[in-house]
């Protein structure tokens, strides 16, 4: 019954899908690239960023990776362009641009 879901795709016949479409793994939402839904895109201006890290915890999609106490570039595979990060940034280091860039 345990099926490797990475071997299931949109051409898999019904009798080879998992029961109730159960997913046999953790953290699989990373495989689902929801960034393509984005209609507005944040642009990160690293030169203006003071690394205050107010943006990272408010991101609803965990799309602002933080490493060694510093935020990195956006994870555009999962950012949906909601603009909350741009709204909380006190330094104008995040600019929202129209469209899925």
């Amino acid at each position: 019954m345990r099926t490797d879901i990475t071997k299931i795709n949109e051409k898999t016949p019904h009798d080879r899908l998992t029961e109730g479409l159960m997913v046999f793994n953790g953290g699989t939402s990373k495989l689902f690239k929801t960034g393509e839904w984005r209609t507005n895109t944040p642009v990160f201006h690293a030169d203006l960023c003071k690394q205050c890290l107010l943006c990272a915890p408010v991101c609803p999609d965990g799309s602002i990776p933080v490493k060694d106490s510093k935020r990195l570039e956006f994870d555009m595979d999962h950012c949906k362009g909601c603009g909350i990060c741009a709204n909380v940034c006190p330094f104008g280091a995040i600019e929202m641009k129209e469209g899925n860039i």
Partner: protein
């Protein structure tokens, strides 16, 4: 040795719940099913079972909690009636699509409005397309026996679907009748321990239950669910056979009562089947060739088997304790006639509506129906379809 007792339907089901001792029971009271959680709570308080009882704030929550508990790996259960079942509607579909083998004991009561607390099948029939297996009882004994068979059906790997065990509100749930109970150890052995292969509280083996499904997958999932419903037919019969070996009482998808040579057959579900059988006994003494087909399993719907069972009669009365408001009959009226058509059984069939919101249905009513069928076949009387019995 069977234990001879006398019990109401609610007492009988509660007694079976104690014997099965499921892991979790979230429930919210609603007439006429209130006694079931009440009696189970008493068993728990007295230390006679160790089910985790969750008092919730609504039926929306009781079904949600039952789904969560079942997905976590616990054998789960709830009870309800009427508007309570209606409030669960969204979750009923989720329980089935997530393939969770939980059990609901439904005590059938009419759905509002007009607001009324008495028996008809509008609640169960309202849930007929939710993907649940539905098994109906004629009397307290059957409500008890059906409950004991519920988990073995639901948990079978060919099925993995939720099961609704239905009995008629007040008529069965509150009337005290003689009953033969089984010993606790026999019931426990029959039902067995719940050992799910995959469940949420399973360290090191993470799963996700009920994930969002895009269009490329959802239709396939629905087909798989439909196949499981088809599979459940043979599982229901296998479990019934095992139950007969243990308890001596025989069950099928439906019961055929004196139908072998019958010219006229009444197809009916629930407690009114007892009334119909009594009328048939009396009419048989007068030489009338009449019989009753008592439907036990409504989901999966045994269309082919019903068509086979009715094919030699001259006319059938299809009895609905529910109005469909489709302008063309009740749910059984629609599904039975569709089954007859698909299987090329060209008999006369008349759909009747009876017993809505607790309206009496007596032996004389059954007699009138059989007399009308005979009049139609013998004298060519034009019979009104979808007629309400005892309508003023």
């Amino acid at each position: 040795m069977a234990i001879k007792e006398r019990m109401s339907g609610n007492e009988a089901v509660s007694y079976a719940i104690r014997q099965v001792n499921p892991d979790v029971m979230p429930a919210f009271p609603i007439t006429p099913s209130t006694e079931i959680p009440q009696m189970v709570s008493t068993y728990i308080a007295n230390g006679e079972m160790d089910t985790e009882f969750i008092p919730v704030e609504s039926e929306h929550s009781s079904m949600s909690a039952a789904i969560g508990a079942e997905a976590a790996g616990a054998r789960s259960l709830t009870a309800t009636s009427s508007a309570g079942l209606a409030l669960m509607w969204e979750e009923l579909l989720l329980a089935a699509s997530n393939r969770l083998p939980l059990v609901l004991t439904l005590v059938n009561r009419t759905l509002s409005g007009p607001i009324n607390i008495n028996c008809d099948h509008s609640d169960g029939m309202g849930a007929r397309d939710t993907g649940w297996i539905q098994i109906y009882a004629e009397n307290n004994q059957e409500a008890y026996d059906n409950f004991i068979q519920a988990y073995p059906i639901a948990e079978d790997t060919r099925v993995h679907l939720p099961v609704m065990i239905c009995q008629d509100g007040f008529i069965t749930s509150h009337a005290v009748e003689n009953i033969e109970l089984l010993e606790d150890d026999k019931v426990k052995n029959f039902v067995g321990e719940y050992e799910p292969e995959e469940f949420l509280l399973n360290p090191g083996k993470p799963i996700a239950v009920g994930p969002y499904s895009v269009s490329n997958y959802a239709m396939e999932a629905k087909k798989n669910q439909e196949i499981a419903m088809e599979n459940s037919k043979e599982v229901i019969l296998e479990i019934a056979k095992k139950f007969k070996d243990m308890a001596g009482r025989e069950y099928g998808l439906f019961e055929e009562y004196k139908t072998q040579d019958a010219d006229y057959i009444m197809l009916i579900m629930g407690s009114a089947a007892g009334t119909a059988k009594q009328a048939v006994d009396e009419l048989r003494e007068q030489g009338k060739k009449v019989g009753v087909l008592k439907l036990r399993v409504f989901r999966p719907f045994p269309a082919k088997e019903i068509a086979e069972a009715l094919k030699n009669c001259k006319a059938a009365a299809i009895m609905d304790r529910c109005e469909s408001y489709n302008g063309n009959g009740g749910p059984l009226g629609s599904e039975v006639t569709a089954g007859l058509f698909y299987h090329k059984v060209n008999i006369e069939a008349v759909n009747y509506i009876y017993g809505l919101a607790g309206r009496d249905f007596t032996i004389s009513d059954v007699n009138s129906v059989f007399a009308e069928l005979e009049d139609m076949v013998v004298n060519g009387k034009e019979v009104e379809q979808h007629k309400y019995i005892r309508l003023r």
